[in-house]
């Protein structure tokens, strides 16, 4: 049994049709799992279902063996799941340091050590700590977003398209940071559009099509699978 599991999840928005049906995703601590697929495949929906942002019609979500399907997102955050949304994932009006402080909002006592460790993970944040995040570049903002999410000492980090809209150079840098995060014994789940690059750093990957698991396997296997290559990697 994996550390964090979404088992046979079926869900949709409100009364609308099911976006994902019987979709399963698992992740262990210390690995990166990529969720890939064409537009509208339900990648983000699957992730939001695991966070509890929408209600499951069937299936379950477990964390370390405990069923958390009925718990609301705030309480899942308290249990160690952290989420970085695709857009509006920082507090643009607050300084870098304040963003980190809010990230550790639920932590009792001093945040100094935690903040220092984030600074050593993302050195640029230490330089810009008193600056308002709204004034930072796109890549730097993404680092703030990651840093904020890591402040709550999560065991699971979920990233919704962390490299959307950044330049290729910044993308590589961000992926490097994500690998660093993984090495701190965190389970990283990310939804990605840049499939090739994502798979090359992932331990495992899932390809969703119309809300269902189509392929799954290790990053390298998927990269080399001819059918996956033909349909999703464009080569």
């Amino acid at each position: 049994m994996a550390y964090f599991e979404g088992v046979k999840m079926t869900a949709g928005y409100g009364e609308g049709p099911d976006i994902i049906s019987s979709c399963s995703i698992t992740a262990n601590r210390g690995e990166i799992v990529a969720i890939l697929g064409p537009n509208g495949a339900g990648k983000s929906t699957a992730m939001k279902a695991m966070l509890g942002l929408l209600k499951l019609k069937s299936g379950s979500v477990t964390l370390n063996g405990e069923d958390i399907s009925k718990i609301n997102p705030q309480d899942r955050v308290k249990k160690g799941i952290s989420f970085v949304p695709q857009t509006r994932n920082v507090f643009a009006e607050l300084t870098v340091r304040e963003n980190l402080e809010i990230g550790g909002f639920l932590t009792e006592g001093s945040l100094e050590n935690k903040i220092e460790s984030i600074y050593s993970l993302f050195p640029i944040l230490s330089e810009k700590k008193s600056q308002v995040v709204g004034q930072l570049s796109g890549g730097q903002r993404q680092q703030v977003a990651l840093g904020r999410a890591l402040m709550s000492d999560p065991s699971v980090l979920m990233l919704d398209e962390p490299t959307a809209g950044v330049s290729p150079i910044v993308m590589d840098e961000l992926f490097e940071h994500i690998i660093k995060v993984k090495k701190t014994n965190v389970a990283v789940i990310m939804v990605e559009q840049n499939a090739k690059q994502a798979l090359s750093i992932s331990d495992r990957g899932y390809v969703l099509v119309t809300g269902q698991n189509k392929f799954e396997g290790s990053g390298i296997d998927l990269l080399e699978d001819p059918e996956v290559r033909r349909s999703f990697l464009g080569a």
Partner: protein, 336 residues
């Protein structure tokens, strides 16, 4: 000597009153801007909420006076402020629970919130008029002046004097204290930071574990403090009349928007911008100029840009100009 006299005339008739009036507006404007930033609506009940808090201070002042309590040279009303604040916060929380929270959970558009606040405005106005009536009330006691013009003239030998009413001094000092504490709270404490985070990005704040109910509660508490103190200071300086408080909502809105709505520091400065503009544009400069010019050049007219009847119109015009040129306000608030 004439130059000194001119400065003193200007100081006495414009700067001092504008500072006092500006402080009163500033407190109201921060109240408006906080509600806007955290709860996300334009609160049309602003003036009446300030009036509601002041009403308790007035009633309690009369009660304390009848008991013989007092602060000597200081107005008794200062003693009643904490009690009035408590009543005000209680009222705001009741209103929030029975009225606003429903629309917050439903995530209604700001327009609907604004209309609901109009309903609250009607109800609050009715309660005030039923409890204390619509008439004009003065509740200032204690020493009226700190410096009198005649004393100042004797002291300095100048032809012009400075009058400093104790209410003006109290207004400015209390405002500075309250506002400093508030900014310290917003910028330096964990709770304050969480409020700003909630105002900036509600969804992310929820994901970070910030409790929205607590943020809303604290917002109303601060709002109650600001509304009551602002209202009582205005009432001490001028007088307490419910209708006037309702009207004060308009320059307060102007101050909040001029300062950049959603930005408390902008609202603070906006209060003074509006107050100084109102007074500088409607002040008759005749006496000031006559000290500076040689006698044969003395002007005949009052040298008044606009008559004092247009005091409010001045602040509204400033608002319209700001909305036209820089809709996010002078000090950059939320983007419109």
């Amino acid at each position: 000597m004439d130059f000194l006299n001119a400065i003193i005339v200007l100081f006495n008739f414009t700067v001092i009153p504008a500072l006092a009036y500006g402080s009163q507006l500033a407190l109201g404007a921060i109240f408006v801007t906080l509600i806007y930033a955290v709860l996300r609506f334009a609160n049309f009940a602003t003036g009446d909420m300030m009036s509601f808090g002041t009403m308790f201070a007035v009633i309690l002042t009369y009660y304390f006076q009848s008991l013989g309590f007092g602060l000597g040279v200081l107005p008794t009303a200062l003693l009643t402020i904490p009690f009035a604040i408590l009543m005000m916060i209680l009222y705001m929380l009741i209103i929030d629970k029975f009225v606003f929270s429903y629309y917050r959970i439903k995530k209604s558009p700001p327009v609907q919130f604004a209309m609901v606040s109009v309903g609250v405005m009607f109800v609050t106005q009715a309660l005030i008029r039923i409890i204390i009536g619509p008439s004009d009330r003065r509740f200032l006691d204690g020493e009226k002046f700190i410096i009198k013009a005649t004393e100042f003239k004797e002291m300095t030998g100048l032809a012009e004097g400075i009058t400093l009413k104790s209410t003006q001094a109290i207004t400015i000092i209390v405002t500075l204290i309250v506002v400093s504490i508030m900014f310290w709270f917003l910028n330096r404490t964990k709770t304050g930071t969480s409020m700003r985070a909630y105002s900036d990005n509600e969804d992310l704040a929820l994901l970070s574990g910030i409790d929205p109910k607590r943020v809303v509660l604290i917002t109303w508490v601060i709002a109650g403090i600001l509304a009551t103190i602002g209202g009582v200071l205005y009432g001490l300086d001028k007088s307490y009349r419910p209708f006037v408080y309702f009207n004060n909502m308009l320059p307060i809105f102007a101050a909040a928007i001029v300062g950049g709505i959603g930005n408390p520091f902008g609202a603070f400065l906006g209060g003074y911008v509006i107050a100084f503009a109102e007074i500088f544009v409607t002040y008759a400069y005749k006496r000031f100029i006559s000290y500076l010019l040689p006698e044969h050049l003395e002007p005949d007219s009052l040298l008044q840009l606009l008559s004092t009847d247009y005091k409010f119109a001045v602040s509204f015009s400033i608002l319209v100009i700001v909305l036209l040129i820089r809709p996010s306000g002078i000090f950059k608030g939320k983007v419109i």
